[in-house]
């Protein structure tokens, strides 16, 4: 049984008299532990697809089965718990709480997971340190650079150790060195059996995944296996990127 199975998924937005078809019927199966990249031009429907996969949005047509369960039939609480425990979502626009500092932002999923404050804080600290923000814990989003915000968003997605990571342009705002660090993080998570789905514009990033899906105009244009998956973690690459071995919660 695939982890994710979508069939004929369609999503359109009605804007007055006009209807924008963001997804026109997408079918896809993703196995547990896959490392998958989604590519496509701007406006092709990548974020729309990610929102659906992340149980945030509901499709107008089609079926989405997560772990063999039809998402459309899940209760609101079940969906909330899946978003909290199963899925780590890195938003394209970060979506951090503007009035809270980095630490609290990263702690947030753990609050709803019901962890005691001390444990929560510890884990949030460790995860922030893990993305290289150990010295920015008490900065609010507007006191952080774009790349730093992105890393806070990544830390928040990872802090509750979700088995599925959905990252919408996670390296979009990062310099290549930090970007590589994040990719190394994903790689390590993938190695540990997590399922990773990354939306990206950069072929470079896609090269690290095992499978690349190309979307155009709300349809899947290509679904390819990447035979020469690139790694950053082993040997030379790590040394090149100057990455210290990462501690992963």
């Amino acid at each position: 049984m695939p982890l994710i199975r979508i069939e004929n998924l369609a999503r359109h937005y009605v804007m007055g008299t006009e209807t924008v078809h963001a997804l026109r019927g997408v079918s896809l199966s993703i196995e547990r532990g896959e490392y998958l990249a989604i590519m496509g031009p701007s406006g092709s429907g990548k974020s729309t697809l990610m929102n659906l996969l992340g149980c945030l949005d509901t499709p107008n047509e089609g079926v989405y089965e997560l772990n063999g369960k039809n998402v459309a039939r899940m209760t609101d609480n079940e969906l909330a718990d899946i978003r909290n425990r199963e899925i780590g979502f890195v938003f394209q626009s970060f979506n951090l709480l503007a009035r809270s500092d980095a630490l609290h932002n990263v702690e947030l999923p753990l609050i709803y997971a019901g962890l005691p404050p001390k444990e929560r804080r510890e884990r949030a600290r460790a995860t922030l340190a893990n993305v290289g923000l150990g010295d920015r814990m008490h900065h609010r989003p507007n006191e952080l650079s774009g790349g730093q915000r992105q890393r806070v968003a990544i830390a928040r997605a990872l802090v509750n150790s979700p088995s599925i990571i959905l990252a919408d342009e996670p390296t979009g705002n990062l310099d290549s060195k930090t970007g590589v660090g994040i990719l190394a993080l994903f790689e390590e998570l993938s190695r540990r059996g997590n399922t990773i789905i990354v939306v990206t514009h950069e072929e470079e990033v896609a090269l690290h995944s095992r499978r690349v899906i190309r979307i155009r105009d709300g349809l899947i244009a290509a679904d390819e296996i990447n035979r020469e998956q690139r790694a950053v973690v082993d040997g030379a690459a790590v040394a090149l990127a100057g990455i210290t071995p990462l501690f992963i919660v």
Binding site: A80, N84, F91, N95, L108
Partner: protein, 409 residues
């Protein structure tokens, strides 16, 4: 997540939210404050008066009632003539009550026989000392405690001895250095031997209750005539027999046909308090109405501010929902915020209201009180206001679509 931890978390979030909008929050809080303050202040004021009233009315002991010609509190003078037409009570009335009230523990009578100047060989007072004649049982029914010396005996009363007991203030004035017991005191030109000193009763509504002289009723009747008008006190042995004793005594006192209202006033601590209550009920009602209106307005204010807050924080709500907050958590967060707003006003209102209500203590020199029950009710009402007016905005927040809220600018 555990309910308790969830609550703590939500309260913390609510505190943060209130802190970030101090001015806006303060205005809402002010509304609640006014509503709670007005009712608590009035109720506390009334309570202060009432708590001092029991002793104020008659100084009666426990389970004691008193027959008197005029009512203890009067508000309209229309009935004045009715009271004037009433008969006076004499020694014979007391005798009859004494005989008929077989269940009573003590029956006494008192008669005021003048106000004037008292003097000893050391000092003299202003002519404002009140004087009362009292039977031996009057010490029991009026809860007088003899501090030194003794009270009146039957013999003092029957043979009309010229003895007296002094209130603590009067004794202090007349005998600043030593004990008054055994010394002579002159009042309205007649000399009495002091046989007892009464324990201090304290002042009430600014008036000393220890500035008087008491002589046996028998003595007073001999000196000032049998036509002195009496007040008669009856004490029941306990709460259970109180009603029976009261019926017996009333039967003995009544001089009118059955079915016609009593031709006297029956006063007890309970009846005084009851009378006071009914007189203040209008004030109470007015205060309740006023504060209800204030709280309603404040509640609408809370609802308004919460609706604004929900709209402003649409993105925040979207984020929380996206990372796994259940609807319930969002709901609780916003209701907690509404309750917190309301309770801040409530706590301040209760404190200020109790303080203000006790202000009359300074003017009337009575004991202040802290009405914990009123405080609890006040805070309870605030929580209710928070819940009632916070629920709809919170419900709105909880039911926002996560993805739409994330896109909200």
């Amino acid at each position: 997540m555990s309910r308790f931890r969830e609550m703590i978390e939500m309260i913390r979030m609510a505190l943060n939210a209130v802190r970030t909008h101090v001015l806006r929050s303060s205005l809402t809080i002010l509304g609640i404050f006014i509503g709670v303050f007005s009712i608590i202040a009035v109720m506390t004021g009334i309570r202060v008066l009432q708590s001092n009233l029991e002793t104020a009315m008659s100084g009666l002991g426990a389970n004691t009632f008193q027959f008197q010609r005029f009512p203890a509190i009067r508000f309209d003078d229309n009935d004045w003539e009715k009271y004037l037409r009433r008969r006076r009570f004499y020694a014979a009335d007391m005798k009859r009550v004494q005989e008929k009230s077989t269940l009573a523990q003590a029956v006494s009578a008192t008669a005021s026989f003048g106000v004037g100047e008292a003097s000893s060989k050391f000092a003299r007072t202003n002519p404002n000392i009140s004087a009362v004649g009292v039977t031996p049982d009057g010490f029991i029914t009026q809860s007088w405690t003899v501090e030194s010396g003794r009270g009146f005996s039957e013999a003092d009363d029957i043979s009309g001895r010229r003895v007296c007991v002094l209130g603590a203030d009067l004794a202090e004035k007349l005998f600043p250095l030593g004990s008054p017991v055994g010394q002579p005191v002159k009042f309205l030109g007649i000399s009495y031997n002091v046989i007892g000193l009464l324990a201090r009763r304290g002042s009430l509504f600014g008036q000393s209750r220890d500035n008087f002289i008491a002589i046996p009723l028998g003595t007073a009747l001999r000196l000032y005539g049998q036509k002195l008008s009496l007040t008669i006190q009856v004490q029941a042995p306990g709460r259970e027999t109180y009603q029976d004793v009261l019926e017996q005594a009333r039967g003995a006192m009544r001089r009118v046909e059955p079915g016609i209202e009593d031709d006297f006033e029956l006063v007890s601590n309970e009846s005084s308090v009851g009378q006071f209550r009914s007189l203040t009920s209008a004030i109470r009602l007015g205060a309740a109405a006023l504060s209800s209106i204030a709280l309603l307005a404040a509640g609408i204010g809370i609802m308004n501010i919460m609706l604004v807050s929900v709209t402003e924080r649409t993105r925040e709500i979207g984020i929380r929902r996206a990372i796994g907050a259940r609807k319930r958590s969002v709901m609780i967060q916003f209701v907690a915020e509404a309750i917190l707003l309301s309770e801040i006003g409530g706590v301040l209102g209760v404190i200020a209201g109790i303080a203000f209500g006790n202000l009359i203590c300074f003017f009337m020199q009575v004991t202040p009180i802290i009405p914990f029950d009123l405080a609890a009710i006040g805070l309870g009402i605030c929580s209710a206001v928070g819940i009632i007016f916070g629920t709809y905005p919170a419900w709105k927040a909880a039911n926002l679509d996560p993805i739409d809220s994330l896109r909200y600018e």
